[in-house]
Structure formats: structure tokens, C-alpha cells
């Protein structure tokens, strides 16, 4: 589907949902209500929303430690996500996972992941399942540039290519791997170049440019759905906040961050792009942001009103205790 005004507005709204959800989560952390650490997606929103815009509800998505955006873009309910960050019993994972493990299997969001590259093998496996079942569901695995160093990236791409599985590998290359600039620890600049070793298409796009990501993802999803195998998409991007909470950010300059925020903010860029086409008026823009802010407030209220988990909950969900073999 080509981008039209209505779809663009929906996508634009989703970008704001991610941005405002996370900024609120940061605020709630400083208030002590959100617990644990947060890896924010702010600055990278265009990627998740552009890719997920091509997905059906039954397609699979697997994420990273930085997955609030992936979850929201794939349709995870915001209130349950906020409740998870608050550590409430109503949270997406009943307060057992937290930010790094948010998942919503009802939307085939098989989860954020605390292990770098942890989703790549499993995301290739969901694609294998589609193949075995002869369904046309596709799988999308999001991962950072750091993940491309790990074995599971190489093994996953090999399997994906070898068996032409319906999977899209989306590398969010934000130039840093925690506190280390990618250039210090990588030998190829573009992760897309690594696709050549596995004989699959590798595409590098500007991850701040929604249209560019949307087009690349559209092609990749179509290929996967048509049984033509995987694509590796590298989206060049930037994270606006530190790696996780408490990051002193000594490895990058304030000017660099300000420059990206000022000139390369995917939300600003897409808003301007839509306005150029008369697809978004200033009033509508304001209305969208207002609606999203209200949704975020409702999610906080939901989290605040939700009960804490009960101590005995700690023992459940380890195994399926209802299951029995019938002899």
C-alpha cells in the first residue's frame, strides 16, 4: 500500500504514542512509580511504525531491550504496557517482565529481549513455523547494530536464507552499542553489507525518513509473503536519550545530540513531509498530540489504579501446572 493521507496520519499518531509514552515513563521513573531501567526508543520511532504499518495482526514481531516502540507499533495496548512498567498485576507480563521483557502474545508480539541478538534465532524460527504450516504470516526481527556481531545474527541469517524463510531482519543502527561508538568495534560501516555473506538482499535506509523505511519494509514484507525469502534492512538512526537510565553520555557530545534532535527528529521530519502534501494541518497536528497525551494519561491512571501483584504470584508461570498426560 502506498502512503496516503489517512495512513500517514495513523502512522504519525503512532510515532507520537511512542514518544509520549516513553517521555511519560521517564517522568514516572523520576517520581518513583516506574521501576527498573528503561531503554528508550525516542528518536528511532519511524522505524517501528513504518515496518509495522505493513504487518497484519497475525504476523510476528520480536524485539530487543529497546522495544516499547516495537510493541506500541504492533498494537500492544498502552495501558497494560504502562502497568507493566509500574510493576502492576495488570501489566502485559503481570509484573514479571518489566520494560526489557514486554510481550503481548495476543498481538503476536513475542517480546522484547534482554539478550542482545536474542530475538534473531527465535524470529527465524517463527518464520520456519509459518513455512511448515503453509501460512503466509511473516516475521519481523528488530535488533540493534550491536547484535550484528553476535553468533545468533550470523546463524539466524544463514538459516533464513538457506530455507528462504518469510522473515525480515530490521537492524536499527543508531551508531552506538551502549557506550561504545559502533565505529570502534565494527569493521563494516553498514550492517546491510553483511547480507551479502548470506546471499539475501541488504538495504540501507535513512531511519529518520519515514517514507524511506516504509518503502524498504514494504518490499521486504512482500518478498517474504511471496515466499522469496528474507531481507536485511539497516535503518540508520539515533537515540535521543542515553542508552539506559543513568547514562552519563560521556561518549557523545551535547552538540551531536542537539543536532539530531533539532534537524533529524523523525517526528518533526514526517510532520513537515505531511504538511508539504497538505495531509496534515496545524490544528490536526495539535489534535493528534492532544489525543495521544490523553491516551498516555489514561495509561498512567490505569497503572496507578491497578493492584500490585500478590506475593504468591511469584510461583506461577514457571511451568504449565494444569497440564497432565493422560496415561
Amino acid at each position: 500500500m502506498t502512503l496516503n493521507a489517512e495512513l500517514s496520519r495513523r502512522i504519525y499518531t503512532d510515532m507520537w504514542r511512542i514518544r509520549l509514552f516513553e517521555e511519560e515513563a521517564l517522568r514516572q521513573t523520576s517520581l518513583g512509580s516506574v521501576k527498573g531501567t528503561l531503554h528508550t526508543y525516542c528518536g528511532e520511532e519511524a522505524i517501528a511504525v513504518a515496518v509495522c504499518a505493513h504487518l497484519r495482526d497475525d504476523d510476528y514481531v520480536l524485539g530487543t531491550h529497546r522495544s516499547h516502540g516495537h510493541c506500541l507499533a504492533k498494537g500492544a495496548p498502552m495501558d497494560r504496557m504502562m502497568a507493566e512498567l509500574f510493576g502492576r498485576a495488570t501489566g502485559s507480563c503481570r509484573a514479571k517482565g518489566g520494560s526489557m521483557h514486554i510481550a503481548d502474545f495476543s498481538r503476536n508480539i513475542l517480546g522484547a529481549n534482554g539478550i542482545v541478538a536474542g530475538g534473531i534465532g527465535p524470529g527465524t524460527g517463527t518464520a520456519l513455523a509459518s513455512r511448515i504450516r503453509k501460512s503466509d504470516q511473516v516475521s519481523v526481527v528488530f535488533f540493534g547494530d550491536g547484535a550484528a556481531a553476535r553468533g545468533p545474527f550470523h546463524e539466524g541469517l544463514l538459516f533464513g536464507s538457506l530455507w528462504k524463510l518469510p522473515v525480515i531482519y530490521v537492524c536499527e543502527n543508531n551508531g552506538y552499542q551502549q557506550w561504545v561508538p559502533r565505529k570502534n568495534v565494527a569493521v563494516v560501516d553498514s550492517v546491510a553489507d553483511m547480507a551479502a555473506s548470506y546471499a539475501i538482499p541488504g538495504v540501507s535506509v535513512d531511519g529518520q525518513d519515514l517514507e524511506a523505511v516504509y518503502e524498504a519494509a514494504g518490499e521486504a514484507v512482500a518478498r517474504a509473503r511471496n515466499g522469496e525469502g528474507p531481507t536485511l534492512i539497516e535503518a540508520r538512526t539515533y537515540r535521543f536519550y542515553g542508552h539506559s537510565l543513568g547514562d552519563m553520555e560521556e561518549y557523545r557530545s551535547r552538540e551531536e545530540v542537539d543536532d539530531w534532535r533539532e534537524n533529524r527528529d523523525p517526528i518533526k521530519l514526517f510532520s513537515a513531509w505531511m504538511k508539504e502534501r497538505q495531509w496534515l494541518g496545524d490544528d490536526e497536528d495539535e489534535a493528534i498530540q492532544g489525543e495521544v497525551a490523553a491516551e498516555v494519561s489514561r495509561s498512567v491512571a490505569y497503572a496507578e489504579e491497578s493492584p500490585l501483584p500478590e506475593p504468591e504470584d511469584v510461583l506461577t508461570d514457571v511451568l504449565d501446572t494444569e497440564w497432565r498426560v493422560s496415561a
Binding site: T37, K96, M100, G118, A149, R150, P311
Partner: protein, 323 residues
């Protein structure tokens, strides 16, 4: 004597050993930036820029290279950011490092130290909170250290670096900032020597790593009830100093074994079994184990609090063996 934090003691050990022996080097993720997430490797890059390697995110590579460098006569100190990620390099630890001496009929020496920050801290849930000591205890050819004080951390780290065989070195994240007296002069602590952290007559509480401060707290709390407990810290789990532990249990006649990890098939299981074998007739009550329930670490604070044993859990266990 001066007082420093456990992470400072580890840093000192690294600096001193690097000064002492040029074959020592450091390798790991983010070890130059901020000196690692725990600042343990801070300052090394300034003194020895060629002996510290900040790596891609590639644990199997990091440990694998460490094993090879060790085989070639170097002494790598590997940092795995969270013990949870060592699972990404288990072949390198188990099949490559640990068995090499044996398989080669004693030809190989693999003097590698694998630093494993572990344990719950800051609510980071199931993939960033594990402890896992017992996994490594079970592998022949590995040594396992788990210091609970800055003094032990420094002395054990120096021994680990000088050891000709691989060491899995557990660092409880929650203890990094805990302070204690550490001498400025060079000292080492032999592996396989437990330390009695508190003397007492009524019951022996064997406590591992992060449970040691909790057992000591329990010791103070129990004084009011008239119980005088002895706290024994094995300091290394492989080799394990059963002699000191048994000697204590023979005196007190009662034993509680505490670990922070799940007690099922855990470290305490080994200690309790050995006590049952070696001190059965000295025991005046069944041994009680303290540990986590057999669950992954949850996220919510309320759930973590009922998972990780605290000093009250130690007190309860002592009351049980005293009853």
C-alpha cells in the same frame, strides 16, 4: 586500616596484578568507557592502553579469544557484563577452558579469569539478575570464587589472576559499593579456605556471597533471642573448604546453609549433602537450606522481595534448627 568499596578493591587488584605481570590483560564490553558499568576496569587504559580491549558484543568471541590467549601464555581477565550473558559463551567456558588441561593429559594451562557480575539489583528482571554459581561448580576443571567483602575480593582476585587454571569469579552487583577494610600491601587469599565471618556457639550459618551480610545481620538480630550464630563464608565454592565448615558444625551441632540463588540443585545442596555425609552424628537438628524459590527473577519489587532471601529468612532458618 583504610576502608574502600568492593569495586575499588577489585580495581586495585587488577592494577596491581597488571603492574606485576605483563601477561595480564583485560577484555570485555564497555571496559574502557567509564571503566565498565561497575567502574572496576577504570584507569587501566591510561596506564596500559595496549592491554585493555573493548569489544564488540560477542561473548563467545570474548571468552574464546581469552582461552586462546591463555593457552598461549597470557593471563586474560574477561569481563562479562552480566553473568546472564555467559550462557552465550558456555562452550568456550565448559568445553574449551575447563577441560583443556585434562584432555591434553596435563599439557595445557588456561589461566583465564572470567568476571561474572551477578545477582539481583535495580529490578532488571530475569535476564539480568541471575547468580548461577552452581552451574560452574558442576564443571570439573573450573574454580569458582564468590567474595563477600572488599578484603576477600582483592585477595581472591589476585589469586585468581595468578592461578594456572580458569576461574569463574562471581561479583555480587549489590555488594560493589559495600565497604570494608583493605590493606594497601600485597596479599593473596588461597582458594579453598573458608573464613569465619562471625564466631558463635549455637548454630553454624554457611553463607555465600551476597548472603554473607544478610547472615551477619541475622546474627545481630538473633542475639536478642539468645542465639549466638557462627557465620562461615566459604569464599570459594570450588575448591570448597568442607573442613572448616565441618569443624564449625561439629562444634555447634546445627547447620543452616544460605545462598541467594534458587536452592534447588544449588550450591547449598552440595554443602548440605557433604555435611550430612561428614557430620551426620554431630548434627542435633536437620540441616536447613535458605535460598530463592525455583523461579526466574521476577520484575516487580514486591515479587523480588519474596524471591530473594533476606536476613529474616536466615533468622527463621536458625530458629528452625534451634527448635
Amino acid at each position: 586500616m583504610r576502608t574502600i568499596a568492593l569495586r575499588d578493591a577489585l580495581r586495585e587488584a587488577l592494577h596491581e596484578e597488571m603492574a606485576r605481570d605483563e601477561s595480564v590483560f583485560v577484555i570485555g564490553e564497555d571496559v574502557i568507557a567509564h571503566g565498565g558499568p561497575y567502574t572496576v576496569t577504570q584507569g587501566i587504559v591510561d596506564k596500559w592502553p595496549d592491554r585493555i580491549f573493548e569489544t564488540p558484543i560477542a561473548e563467545a568471541g570474548i571468552v574464546g579469544l581469552g582461552v586462546g590467549a591463555a593457552l598461549a601464555g597470557m593471563r586474560p581477565v574477561v569481563e562479562i557484563m552480566y553473568v546472564d550473558f555467559i550462557t552465550c559463551a558456555m562452550d568456550e567456558v565448559v568445553n574449551q577452558a575447563a577441560k583443556m588441561r585434562y584432555m591434553t593429559g596435563g599439557q595445557a594451562s588456561v589461566p583465564i579469569v572470567i568476571r561474572l557480575p551477578c545477582g539481583p539489583a535495580r529490578l532488571v528482571a530475569a535476564q539480568h539478575s541471575q547468580i548461577m554459581e552452581s552451574w560452574f561448580m558442576h564443571v570439573p576443571g573450573l574454580q569458582v570464587a564468590a567474595p563477600s567483602t572488599p578484603y576477600d575480593a582483592k585477595g581472591l582476585m589476585k589469586t585468581a589472576i595468578r592461578s594456572p587454571d580458569p576461574v569463574a569469579f562471581f561479583e555480587y552487583k549489590a555488594l560493589y559499593v559495600s565497604e570494608g577494610e583493605v590493606p594497601e600491601e600485597d596479599y593473596v587469599i588461597p582458594f579453598g579456605k573458608a573464613d569465619i565471618k562471625r564466631e558463635g556457639e549455637d548454630a553454624t550459618v554457611v553463607a555465600i556471597g551476597g548472603m554473607v551480610p544478610r547472615a551477619l545481620e541475622a546474627g545481630v538480630a538473633l542475639e536478642d533471642e539468645g542465639y549466638d550464630i557462627e557465620v562461615v563464608d566459604p569464599r570459594t565454592l570450588a575448591p570448597l573448604d568442607m573442613e572448616t565448615i565441618c569443624e564449625s558444625v561439629r562444634r555447634t551441632g546445627r547447620a543452616v546453609v544460605c545462598e541467594m540463588d534458587s536452592s534447588f540443585a544449588g550450591t547449598g545442596a552440595e554443602i548440605a549433602a557433604a555435611l550430612a555425609e561428614q557430620c551426620f552424628h554431630d548434627l542435633r537438628a536437620p540441616i536447613v537450606r535458605v535460598g530463592s524459590p525455583h523461579v526466574p527473577m521476577p520484575f516487580a519489587e514486591e515479587l523480588v522481595n519474596v524471591t530473594v532471601p533476606d536476613s529474616a529468612a536466615v533468622c527463621d532458618a536458625v530458629r528452625k534448627v534451634m527448635a
